[in-house]
C-alpha cells in the first residue's frame, strides 16, 4: 500500500525496516485498519478498564466478525474474544455445518471436530472473516475458488508465491477434473509448505493454508477424485488419448484398445 501511495508498483516492501520507523516517504507511518482505530477511539473516550474486562487473558476486548455463508442470519457481529466457534454458529443460526473458514481465504479451515475452539489470539486468530460451509457444499469447489483467488492476488514479486500459487491452482484443477494422483497430493502438500516458509510477505505465507488445512482435515475431498489411489505411473492416459482416434476411424476391434 505504501509503495502504491508513493506511486510505485504495488509490491510488498522488505521488512525490517518496519513502517513504524520508515513508512510512507521513509517517514514513520502507522498502518492500521478501521476496526483498530474505532476501538482505540472508544478506549480513549471511555477508558480501557471496561474494554479490558471483556475477552480472555491474552486477548482482551471484543472482535468484529463478518459472518457469511450457510447460515440463516449472516452479518456483522461483535463478540468478546474467547467465544467458541460453536457459539458463533449458534448465534447466526448455522445448520449442518461441515467446515468454517476463519479469517478469509488465507486463514484457517476448521472441521466440525474443532468447533469448540476459541476465537482469540492464543487459539484461532482472525481478522474477522467467518465463512460457513454446510454439508451440501463440495469443499473442493471452495478450495478451487481460493486457489484461483490467490493466483489472482499474487503480486508476482517473489518466486514461491508467483509460481507456487499457479502450480497449486493447476494441481487442484487436475484433481478436480479426476486426473490427479497420490503424487499430486504430495506435491500440493510440499508446495504449500514452500510457500509458507519462503514467501516474501504474509499473502504468500498464507496462500496455501486452505490447501494444507483441507488436505489434513478433509482428505476425502481429494482422495475420492483421484484417478487411482496408489501405484500410479505418472504418464498420459493412453486409452483416453486413443479414444479420439477410435471415434474418427470407427474402430472397435481388440487391437484398438491398447
Amino acid at each position: 500500500m505504501i509503495e502504491s501511495l508513493e506511486g510505485k508498483r504495488g509490491v510488498p516492501r522488505n521488512r525490517p525496516p518496519f513502517p513504524v520507523t520508515q513508512g510512507y516517504l521513509n517517514k514513520p507511518t502507522v498502518v492500521n485498519n478501521v476496526e483498530t482505530f474505532a476501538l482505540a477511539a472508544r478506549i480513549a473516550v471511555y477508558g480501557g478498564d471496561g474494554f479490558a474486562a471483556l475477552g480472555t487473558k491474552q486477548s482482551k476486548g471484543t472482535k468484529l466478525l463478518s459472518i457469511s455463508g450457510d447460515c440463516l442470519r449472516p452479518g456483522i457481529y461483535e463478540f468478546p474474544f474467547g467465544v467458541s466457534v460453536r457459539e458463533v454458529l449458534e448465534a447466526c443460526n448455522a445448520q449442518d455445518t461441515q467446515a468454517v473458514q476463519i479469517s478469509g481465504a488465507a486463514g484457517t479451515c476448521l472441521s466440525a471436530k474443532e468447533f469448540d475452539r476459541k476465537i482469540a489470539f492464543e487459539d484461532v486468530a482472525t481478522g474477522g472473516s467467518v465463512m460457513i460451509f454446510n454439508r451440501q457444499r463440495d469443499l473442493l469447489e471452495v478450495v478451487r475458488n481460493f486457489a484461483h483467488f490467490f493466483v489472482h492476488e499474487s503480486c508476482g514479486f517473489c518466486t514461491p508465491c508467483r509460481v507456487g500459487t499457479s502450480l497449486l491452482k493447476n494441481l487442484v484443477e487436475k484433481v478436480y477434473t479426476n486426473h490427479g494422483t497420490a503424487d499430486d497430493l504430495k506435491d500440493m502438500s510440499y508446495i504449500s509448505q514452500v510457500l509458507k516458509t519462503a514467501s516474501h510477505c504474509g499473502l504468500g505465507q498464507t496462500a496455501s493454508n486452505h490447501i494444507a488445512d483441507t488436505l489434513k482435515k478433509f482428505p476425502e475431498i481429494y482422495h475420492k477424485r483421484l484417478l487411482v489411489e496408489a501405484n500410479f505411473e505418472p504418464a498420459f492416459d493412453l486409452d483416453s488419448a486413443l479414444e479420439d482416434a477410435r471415434q474418427i476411424t470407427g474402430r472397435k476391434d481388440e487391437m484398438a484398445y491398447l
Binding site: R251, D253, E254, M255
Partner: protein
Amino acid sequence: MSQLETATHSETLKRVVIEPLTRVEGHGKVTLLLDEDNHVHQARLHIVEFRGFEKFIQGRPYWEIPVLVQRLCGICPVSHHLAAAKAVDMLAGARQLTPTADNLRRLLHLGQILQSHALHFFHLSSPDLLFGINDAVAHRNIIGVIADHPDLGLQGIRLRKYGQEVIRIISGKRVHGTASLPGGMNKPLSLQHRALLLADIDQIITWSKGAVDLIKKVYLTNTDFHQRFGLIQSNMLSLVTTDGAMDLYHGGLRAKSANGKTIFDHIDYCHYHQYIHEEVKPWSYMKFPFIVSQGNEVGWYRVGPLARINNCDYITTPLAEIERQEFRAHANGGLVQASLAYHWARMIEMLYAAERIREILLDPVSTGTDIVAQGEEKSLEGIGVIEAPRGTLIHHYLVNDSGTIEKANLIVSTTNNNQAMNESIRQVAVEYLDGQTLTEGLLNHIEVAVRAYDPCLSCATHALGKMPLSVELVNHKGKLVDCLIKSSTGEITK
C-alpha cells in the same frame, strides 16, 4: 511413380502394418497391401521426420543454431552441427576458415564418421550379416556377436569409442558438445590431445582394414543373395572435390544416373535448390526429393556410403583407395547398386576416416592457434552441405537484419534416401513375402533392407532386441487375420 507405390484397387486388399518399424529416433512403419493369395500390391515406408526443427528455430538468433540443431539426432549430431556451422559461416561472412580451423572441423567430422559407421556396422548390422537373417532373435544382436566373435565385437566397440574420443576432444563432449563458431572453432587442438589420439590411430586403421576385409568376405561368400537383396537401380548423389576425390566435409555436388553417366557435376551446393526439388506425397510426412532434370518419377536418388564410393573418381588415402577400386570392379564399369553393398562401402569409408584422421593429426597446421576467421560481408542467406554418415545433409537458413532465423530448410540424409528405401522394401516384399504367410524372418527381411540405409531406423529395435514390434495382418473387412508380436525381451509370439 514406381510400381507397388500405390495399388489400383486398395479397398479390396488386405492391409499389413509393420509398426513400429523403428526409425530415426522413434517410430517408423511399413504398410503392405496384399490380395487373397498374399500377393503384394503396395508397399510403403512411412517415417515421421524431424520437420519440427525447421519451425521452432524460426525467430532464434542464427549464432545459436549449430548448437541447437545438433539435437536433431543423438547419433550424428556433429554432422548437423557442422552443416549448420557452414551455413552460419556464410551468414557471418566468414566462409574462408583458417587452415587450422578447417582441419579441426574435418577432424571432428571424421570422428563422427568413424563412430557412426562402427556403430552401424558392428552393433546394428553385423548380427544379420554374420548370423543370417533367420537367426534366433535372442542371439542376433551385438551381445551375440561378442559371444561368438569376442575379438570382433570388442573391436567394433573400441572403434566407436575412438571416434567418440575424437569428438570429445574437439567439442568437449562425446554427444552434443560445442565446437564451431561463426568462422571457426572455439578451441585449438593441444599437443597432449594430439598425442593421445595418435597413440591409438595405427591400431584403429588396422582394425578398420580388418572390418573391410570381413564385410568383403561375407558379401562375396553368398554373392548372389547379397547382390539381389533389395536390389534397385538408382541415381546417386554426393559431394566431391574439384578434382573428383571423395570428400565428406566439403565439395561440389555430383549426381550420376543409374548407368553411371554424370547428370551434373561440381555444382556449388549453394545452388542445390536449382537441381533438387522435393515432392510431397499424401501418404507420408517425409518429402521425396528428386533431381529436377530427371523429373519426379525417375529423378530420385541414393545418398550415403554407396553413393559416395560410386560417385567419386578416387579416394585420397592409399588403403581406402585400393578397396574402392576393388569395390567398383564388381560393377563391371557401372555403379554398384546392391543395397547390402552399402555396408561394404561404409567400411571403406571408415577406413578412409581412420587414415584421414592420422593425416590430419600429423599435419602441424592442426595444432595451430589461429582458429577464428573474421567475417566482413554479411549475408542474409546461409547454406551448409556436408556428407553425414548416412549421406548428403543440407541446411539452408534465411535470416533477417537483426540476425534471427526467418526460414529454414533441412534436407536430412534419411529424406534424401526416402524413395530409395521405399523401393528397396518393395523389392524385398516382392522377393520374400509375395504369396507367403507372415513369419518373423519376413519381418526381419524388411528391417534388414531399411537397416542398410539408416542405422537410426534399426537401433531402436534391433540393437538389443528391446523395442517391441508387432506385425498384423488384417483382411479387407478390418478383421485381424494374423499377428506377430515381438516383445521387449525379443520373444516372438503369434
